[in-house]
Symmetry: C2
Subunit: 204 residues, 2 copies
């Protein structure tokens, strides 16, 4: 059978397999990336290898906000500049980064690291909702801003959070729904227009 063998060396096959495992990378992209690294960017391959092993070795979840951190308490949570009376609940660290980039929020965060998705077996228990109630019980939080996505799963997650928060008698809010900044009404979907009408602001 030797003459039928496709002649890719073992380490290259392993590299292509490991790359294919990344989200959004298929077999063709994986092969292209592997060949590119081996032919043109050995240094890039080395720095990726080191970055991966350093990240897996040093990153943990912040004990307060659950986002990724090198230390027990992350930079945001330990900052003296943050307003500790506000708690914003987001789905992912990317959402947190986006909220930070808006420069519109100076409170603390809790990162769910997911959203409720019954089909995938992810409920309030898997998302560690109890950590949020523990944090509210510690006191000091005056308002919880629920900043989950406006998708079906994000809405479900928000509703579960609201149900959990009601007994605390704490102020609870959600991000405003409406027409995105800089957009023309002509190109906005009907659902967004409907929400923007319903939530319209008076007393301008």
């Amino acid at each position: 059978m030797e003459e039928q063998q496709i002649s890719e060396p073992e380490p290259l096959i392993n590299l292509i397999k490991a790359l294919k495992r990344l989200p959004g990378i298929g077999i063709r992209s994986a092969r292209r990336i592997a060949y590119h690294l081996m032919q043109y960017d050995l240094q890039g391959a080395n720095s990726l290898s080191i970055a991966l092993s350093e990240a897996t070795g040093s990153l943990q979840h912040c004990i307060s906000c659950n986002s990724f951190s090198e230390t027990d308490l992350c930079v945001t949570c330990s900052s003296s500049f943050r307003d500790k009376s506000l708690l914003c609940i987001v789905e992912t660290p990317s959402d947190l980064i986006n909220l930070e980039a808006s420069h519109g929020y100076k409170g603390l965060y809790y990162v769910l690291m997911g959203r409720i998705s019954p089909l995938d077996g992810i409920g309030p228990k898997e998302l560690n909702f109890h950590k949020i109630s523990e944090r509210i019980n510690k006191g000091g939080i005056e308002e919880v801003i629920i900043a989950t996505g406006f998708t079906a799963e994000g809405e479900t997650t928000a509703q579960f959070l609201i149900d959990m928060l009601v007994p605390f008698g704490i102020k609870t809010s959600r991000l405003a729904r409406g027409v995105p900044a800089g957009s023309e009404l002509e190109y906005i979907d009907a659902g967004t227009i409907a929400w923007a009408l319903m939530d319209r602001k008076s007393n301008l």
Copy 2:
């Protein structure tokens, strides 16, 4: 300035940077992959790290065909089942894999690891054309099949190769151009149809 800082830990930033360096991966994909690995697939991150360092450490170019190999002479070149009178010149190891997958070729290969591209400063010298002539000088090769792509750069590369091979008085051929297997003429571009007409086969 501490309150303006975006709170991504250093190892995560390094990982995102290293991923962004991969071809076809932008900043958003890089961040998504990094978060995915850290949250859901630490094992995948580890195996990618190991695969990268093993590949950069163990892969070299085959002294005969120039493709990637763990040993001085690759599996294909050292196989006793290959027809050593045929030499097929391809641009990349992916092209070699595709030719092998066709099961239509049993000769040897030479992988250019690129193609002539004057704008990028890649000429015959950068592609080590002299290695091909050295190999022909060693004797035994009866036909050189030029299997570069049918793109502008692939055609240029083929022409340079033909010019270099003429003095050797060796038989030189190119892959047939024409209508792809399994396709309907309706959907084939005019250029391909023109070539298929010009290179039409008689004596069927």
